[in-house]
Symmetry: C2
Subunit: 172 residues, 2 copies
């Protein structure tokens, strides 16, 4: 699902990488306000060779960057305490997803899952349901958002908040 | 170091991925003969942000694909029994390196380290010194080859051999 609402301001692309499903979400930071622009989930064809699945991710995220004229990007860091084979696959998917905004000349900020939960829900131990609930409250125009896209919007919201804080510190 | 010798035939790009050093080697398979074309090592700037180091790999390998008009690519599979943080980083680098030939429309074959050792040295437990020694014998025109590039040439040699076997089976 992809819905759109075009606005001016700094456009932030949030990314929740995965080889089967990569969530993405675009928000615009206008001063202290935050507005939803679009979100979606990218699913590479599972039967395709590995390199083609990665290429699908790279190109699809690249299209999102261009379509929504994103200015900055942010992505979730990865827990490394899962099984090594899953870690390796996720590493590949994450690289393909990061490379898309990098190719468009965007910086790609990285945030730990705990920091994202803390920024969005207020607790580093929040579950996915709580994140989806808060995204709905923070970005009501987004409507019903599936988990992967909600996580991606949470990354974008985190970046908007921490970026704003960094800007305020610069002028104070 | 990069040396070149232009030939006709099927050009195979072998890749040994790494975030600090990615080895590459191009050989041409002409019937049952194998000839060296070029090899080198790519080192992204270590101080650059992570996404930019990945982008450096993607673009540098892409330039190699184009410069040597490669027809097929092959890459080493990754051992997953190392530490999870290293596995994750290597996964990222490997994706960036695989995506370069995929973007050029090339198929990217994957071979396990043991299969490569067996194909080049004759034993799945050969060490890096033995691989470098055999690469020097199989591709004398390559001259002195550093470890990362020797490993990449070994991947290309493996693909040339297994590809040739697959073609022979098709016509028999």
């Amino acid at each position: 699902m992809t819905n759109t609402l075009i606005q001016s301001g700094t456009r932030i692309l949030g990314l929740d990488p995965g080889l089967r499903r990569t969530g993405w979400g675009v928000v615009v930071a206008e001063g202290s306000r935050l507005r939803w622009i679009a979100h979606g989930v990218i699913s590479p064809p599972e039967a395709a060779p590995f390199s083609e699945r990665l290429l699908f991710l790279l190109e699809a995220v690249g299209e999102v960057c261009t379509a929504y004229s994103c200015d900055e990007a942010a992505i979730e860091e990865v827990y490394v305490n899962m099984n090594p084979s899953s870690t390796l696959k996720l590493g590949h998917a994450r690289a393909a997803v990061m490379l898309a905004p990098a190719r468009c000349g965007l910086s790609v900020a990285e945030y730990s899952p705990n920091l994202i939960k803390k920024a969005v829900v207020g607790s580093g131990h929040a579950d996915k349901g709580q994140i989806a609930f808060m995204i709905k409250r923070l970005l009501p125009a987004a409507g019903e958002v599936k988990t992967d896209a909600a996580d991606a919007l949470a990354v974008a919201v985190t970046h908007a908040q921490l970026r704003k804080r960094a800007l305020l510190e610069m002028v104070s």
